[in-house]
């Protein structure tokens, strides 16, 4: 079966984010960018499905500026077979991303679409669910285990109370949580091989999707910063402060 994986280029998770002085957004100039960690987990899961003989082909898709091809190449080096780049320099919001992915789904007809549950820049946690709704597919969100059995996939989900398993008809959408797997690193030979893998580029217009953002960001500010407090000498002083100064116990 064919698996489609969507990946996003985001600020590297180790980078300390700085808000621009004019409050229009976050400073991304000369900042290290990387594949969204949840998308890495999505790629890894697809590769494992292929290694198990469940997946036959892995197509990876990314939406964004030219530079996204780096993340597509990374996915190809990790084991994806073919890449699709939907190129745009415009801001793409979740609903539009879902519409673009829907048109890719209609063309590629994958049995399983795997996405990260959220991207660590906008922290929206929306695109996979929106794609599932637009394509009429079931969804296994926040997955910590994915088992394909015949025409169904069982997805164990990390939910507030613990774990919950659902059975979905295929085709289906899965969004990854942190404990689904531990992504591998790409080996040098695979990075070289990935350069030769097929990567098709297209625009939102080619897919018949008009980008029309519904949300406008009025301003972006730094969070109210906490002041570092005091160091206490020992546990007795700590308890005394909590009781008599902070009055929280």
């Amino acid at each position: 079966m064919k698996v489609l994986v969507a990946v996003k280029r985001v600020i590297d998770y180790n980078v300390k984010v700085r808000v621009k002085p004019d409050n229009t957004g976050v400073d991304l100039a000369n900042v290290k960018m990387a594949m969204n960690p949840f998308c890495e987990i999505a790629v890894e899961e697809a590769v494992r499905l292929k290694e198990k003989g469940v997946a036959s082909e892995i197509v990876v898709v990314s939406i964004g500026p030219k530079a996204c091809q780096e993340q597509i190449r990374t996915a190809l080096a990790l084991g994806a077979d073919r890449g699709i780049h939907i190129e745009t320099d415009e801001e793409v919001q979740s609903l539009e991303a879902a519409k673009l992915l829907k048109s890719v789904v209609e063309k590629e007809e994958p049995k399983l679409v795997i996405l990260g549950k959220q991207s660590i820049d906008s922290d929206n946690n929306q695109t996979g669910q929106m794609l599932a709704a637009l394509t009429g597919m079931g969804q296994g969100t926040f997955a910590s285990e994915v088992v394909v059995e015949g025409e169904k996939v069982n997805v164990t989900r990390e939910v507030d109370g613990g774990l919950m398993t659902v059975a979905l008809n295929l085709p289906a959408v899965v969004t990854t949580d942190l404990r689904l797997n531990e992504p591998r690193y790409a080996s040098l030979p695979n990075i070289m091989k990935a350069k030769k893998k097929q990567l098709d580029s297209m625009t939102p217009a080619d897919l018949g999707v008009e980008l029309a953002p519904r949300l406008s960001t009025l301003k972006v500010e730094a969070p109210a910063s906490r002041q570092a407090g005091v160091k206490v000498a020992d546990v007795a002083e700590l308890v005394d402060k909590l009781k008599n100064e902070a009055k929280v116990i």
């Binding site: 984010v17 957004g25 976050v26 979740s94 609903l95 549950k117 959220q118 660590i120 820049d121 906008s122 946690n125 929306q126 996979g128 669910q129 929106m130 599932a132 709704a133 079931g138 969804q139 296994g140 926040f142 910590s144 989900r157 990390e158 939910v159 507030d160 109370g161 613990g162 774990l163 919950m164 398993t165 659902v166 059975a167 979905l168 008809n169 404990r179 953002p213 519904r214 949300l215 406008s216 960001t217 009025l218 301003k219 972006v220 500010e221 730094a222 969070p223 906490r226 407090g229 160091k231 020992d234 546990v235 007795a236 700590l238 308890v239 402060k241 909590l242 902070a246 929280v248 116990i249």
Partner: protein, 313 residues
């Protein structure tokens, strides 16, 4: 304006988060209806009717909603919600699952995890793990919004007397089925709404050592949380993770034990009123946000903490 709040519950009890979401709805202003979708959830409907500020409670009681499957809830809420100006749900795992489906079915954007209401169409929300705070304006005719419960003080859960209406809308998308669940059973308060949280990290070394934290938590009537590292290492289950991608907590007191204070962890707890850090590394970033820091080996400090607390509580 008319606002539909989707209740969070477990078919028998209304979750407190619903009262926080009603508070967010009040901040927007307008008539507030609450939709309770579930199976044998009549008691939840009755409880929602008592919440302050609620106009009407709609109860969709059917087996297809029993496990809160996103596909079925999405269709139901899109159908019921299309005559409202705003649809709100708590940003827990149920709301995060079905609300984007609602938005897509209605062809509108979703505003995720709002922490403040500026006006009927403008909301404040965290991005980049809370390292930046965005003010966003929605141009859609229906605003689909998930709410960070800890950012809104709950409305009173008693005193209201809204009318309760049964809804006969059965939406079975036929795409998914519930198989099973493993829910953590705990007599401690719910992590998301507890007044005090005691959390452990990789420094705890193993799951057994969390018993030390549990004893402290029980003295304080606190919930127990964890860092991702502690969950990944298998010390404790996933539902205890606090952070960017786990639970968001904002208790009166947060005690971080053997937690370094990575930004992804801070994203989940830095709105706590008072933060205590116990860590043997005085350079640990957690001390930069802690009101009270204790540089100590936790294996000595935590048992002492238990003893000291017994003296004063």
């Amino acid at each position: 304006m008319s606002i539909l709040v989707i209740a969070e519950h477990d078919n028998s009890e209304l979750k407190q988060a619903t009262l926080n979401v009603v508070a967010a709805a009040k901040a927007i202003g307008g008539d507030i209806d609450v939709l309770v979708a579930g199976e044998n959830c009549g008691a939840v409907g009755e409880a929602a009717a008592k919440a302050e500020g609620v106009n009407k409670v709609l109860v969709a009681d059917n087996a297809v909603y029993g496990h809160f499957l996103g596909e079925n809830l999405g269709e139901l809420v899109a159908e019921v919600g299309k005559s409202y100006s705003h649809i709100l749900a708590a940003a827990g795992t149920v709301g995060k699952d079905f609300m984007p489906r609602v938005a897509a079915l209605l062809d509108v954007a979703q505003v995720s995890d709002i922490m403040r209401v500026e006006s009927e169409d403008t909301f404040v929300r965290p991005i980049y793990a809370g390292n930046a705070i965005a003010t966003v304006k929605s141009t859609d005719s229906i605003k689909v919004i998930t709410v960070r419960p800890t950012a809104f003080d709950p409305v009173a859960g008693e005193g209201g007397s809204a009318a309760v209406e049964q809804l006969d809308v059965v939406k079975d998308a036929g795409l998914s089925a519930f198989v099973n669940e493993e829910l953590a059973k705990s007599d401690r308060p719910d992590l998301g709404s507890a007044g005090i949280v005691v959390s452990g990290g990789r420094g705890m070394q193993n799951g057994d050592n969390f018993k030390m934290l549990e004893q402290v938590a029980d003295l304080l009537g606190a919930a127990v949380g964890a860092s991702r590292a502690a969950v990944d290492a298998g010390f404790v289950p996933n539902d205890m993770q606090v952070g960017q991608t786990g639970k968001i907590v904002a208790p009166q007191l947060y005690i971080a034990v053997g937690i370094s204070g990575a930004i992804q962890h801070l994203a989940g707890m830095s709105d706590s009123k008072v933060i205590v850090a116990i860590n043997k590394d005085e350079e640990a970033p957690i001390f930069q946000v802690a009101d009270y820091g204790l540089v100590a080996d936790l294996f000595e400090a935590v048992p002492q903490l238990e003893e000291e607390l017994k003296k004063v509580l």
